[in-house]
Amino acid sequence: MAATEIARQAGEGARAVPLAGHVGFDSMPDQLVNKSVNHGFCFNILCVGETGLGKSTLMDTLFNTKFEGEPTQHNQPGVQLKSNTYELQESNVRLKLTVVNTVGFGDQINKEDSYKSIVEFIDTQFEAYLQEELKIKRTLHSYHDTRIHACLYFIAPTGHSLKSLDLVTMKKLDSKVNIIPIIAKSDAISKSELTKFKIKITSELVSNGVQIYQFPTDDETVAEINSTMNGHLPFAVVGSTEEVKIGNKMVKARQYPWGTVQVENENHCDFVKLREMLIRVNMEDLREQTHTRHYELYRRCKLEEMGFKDTDPDCKPFSLQETYEAKRNEFMGDLQKKEEEMRQMFVQRVKEKEAELKEAEKELHEKFDRLKKLHQDEKKKLEDKKKSLDDELNGFKQKKTAAELLQSQAQQAGGSTTLKRDKERKNIRLQ
């Protein structure tokens, strides 16, 4: 029968027991971390923003590498999402980083549907994970998670307010992904304008009910820094992969005739804050929020849409079971169909080959006949020639015997010299 639980005190249910010595399970976090290190991590960032806001450059700067190709054109017909995966390593940590870029965002004349392809992309990743989770034979621990963990929303540095496209897009995305809004190319805005700009953006986001990602403040170790940073959103960033000599160091900067904007100088821009928050402090939280909040929401909606309900405990496994059975039957059906198709194709191929071979055979026969005929003609010709040659030879023989006869007659009749002369004459004639 089910286990009888003893000694459950009111409240939590497990007793707190003091330990009389060192047991050793304090190594558990290390064991867990080791396992993850061996396994590797993955992190997926989606960059949404108009073309030309420096998305690729920012990614390069953040991760200290040169990622991909050339800047994109501005004449795309619709918004496409291009994703690239890179394997980075720092000390013993291997990270599979996927950067997804929105190509052509904001370039169209009619931008009503711009957000749709982004939402579709995010949903596709959730769907892929859900499918894997619902599989009967699944390999979740080795599944390459492609769900978007963080969405960096690039706001154009107009200095005034958010564009309506930005508001609409962010509103559509806030329940699906962790949005971190950033002001791109912020070296175009002066400090005072920047403060006003940030306030305006934040108030617009709040008044439109857009839920951006808040850095978590429940863990005391990072609560303070996270809450401070929450006040600095949106981050005003500048990206650059070029280095300039400042003092006696080479730093990443953008050089202008009137001065140099240093990327990693906190007085110049919020790049360091972004890196700190995105990578060094909250990467794990971003992944967890994606899994426990956004993915769960998607899953719930999808399953409800499909008509499943958590009505009573008996229903569930059976309803899902039935669908598994249906799925399996469908799969078997597909399998049989494919098999049938393959068989048909095979039979077809065999027929074709047979026909081909027959053709070839026919040709060969024809060729053979032709050759035979040729051979016969040749043979006949040769025979004719031989016959004529024989005739000639016979003729020659006859003439020879006739000549000899005449010669012997002449010899009998008269003088030798005349004969000789005649003979010679005849010899000459015969030659």
Partner: protein, 349 residues
């Protein structure tokens, strides 16, 4: 303190150097890459998260009564975690049927919190006719898998599904010194397919070293002959490093253990042990018994691995079997689910 005979950490995967890293593909080492990005800070973030969430561990102990199971549990976790310590029964009686009694504790060490659940099985192997005594245990283990599965396929499900699955089943072998009994073989043969089994030779202070080695060898051979895969299972070794470490362990199991709650003065130190007229057996001295090896395996090095194998292999096997089951249920399904299933099929064709 009590930590005298610590096992050489070359066994543990904690202090082993990280696996040899292949050079990263992609542009990780581009020129001028002296700036620190901070990707490896994720390790610290994970550690923080783990500390905040705490860990769960569920151990089941199986064996005849009188083999020192409760004492061993208390020794392993250095506190009164066994059922007997919690519930004082007026007299020890062997239950008529096998009971499954689980008791949970919250323990904490250096900031790491763990919810430890010890599942006791009084009555196992104690009757005259012990046929099918594994059944209630098997059922319990499967029930935990079922409970987890139910929660997992809920539409509205908890953020962290409470894990009551049995991670490890310690099977106590009486120290006869000869060979495994049919009950042992039968039990382990069946249960090793659904749960991680860690066999231990109980009350090993009755065996001399030679007897112990012979006994262990016999047991290993019998396990092999019967196709019983105990933890660590050979087929789940992940890579060659793992295999090396685990091979060493497989050559030492089953561990011959002695448990004790009493401390004695030995050579000026207070140690856990058993005092007899002919000497004091130090529990944590590896020259005396293999308790320290067991503790290190179970707690200090392989705890996470044991849990992983339970969740990613044993549980998945159960799940596959469960989801493939044809409907043998007496109640017909209510019509709404049937409709929704048809809808599902239609959406997906």
């Amino acid at each position: 303190h009590v930590d005298t005979a610590e096992v050489n950490p070359s066994h543990s995967n904690m202090s082993a150097p990280p696996h040899p890293q292949p050079p990263a593909k992609g542009a990780s080492h581009a020129a001028g890459d002296f700036s620190y990005v901070g990707i490896d800070a994720i390790l610290e973030q994970m550690r923080r998260k783990a500390m905040k969430q705490g860990f769960e561990l569920n151990i089941m102990i199986v064996g005849q009564s009188g083999l020192g199971k409760s004492t061993l549990m208390n020794t392993l976790f250095k506190s009164k975690v066994s059922r007997k310590s919690v519930v004082s029964t007026p007299e020890e009686r062997i239950p008529k049927t096998i009971e499954i009694k689980s008791i949970s504790h919250d323990i904490e060490e250096k900031g790491v919190r763990m919810k430890l659940t010890v599942i006791d099985t009084p009555g196992f192997g104690d009757h005259i006719n012990n046929e099918n005594c594994w059944q209630p245990i098997m059922k319990f283990i499967n029930d935990q898998y079922e409970q987890y599965l139910q929660e997992e396929i809920n539409i509205d499900r908890k953020k962290r599904i409470p894990d009551s699955r049995v991670h490890c089943c310690m099977y106590f072998i009486p120290p006869t010194g000869h060979c495994l009994r049919p009950l042992d073989v039968e039990f382990m043969s069946r249960l090793s397919k659904v749960v991680n089994i860690v066999p231990v030779i109980a009350k090993a202070d009755t065996l001399t070293l030679e007897e112990r080695d012979f006994f262990k060898q016999t047991i290993r051979e019998e396990l092999r002959a019967n196709g019983i895969d105990v933890y660590p299972q050979k087929e789940f070794d992940e890579d060659s490093d793992d295999r090396m470490i685990n091979d060493k362990i497989r050559e030492m199991i089953p561990f011959a253990v002695v448990g004790s709650n009493q401390e004695y003065q030995v050579n000026g130190k207070r140690l856990l042990g058993r005092k007899t007229k002919w000497g004091t057996i130090e529990v944590e001295n590896i020259a005396h018994c293999e308790f320290a090896h067991l503790r290190d395996l179970l707690i200090r090095t392989h705890m996470q691995n044991i849990k992983d194998i339970t969740s990613s292999i044993h549980y998945e096997v159960y799940r596959v079997r469960r989801l493939n089951e044809t409907n043998g249920q007496p109640n017909a399904q209510p019509p709404n689910t049937l409709d929704s299933n048809i809808k599902y099929i239609m959406i997906h064709t």
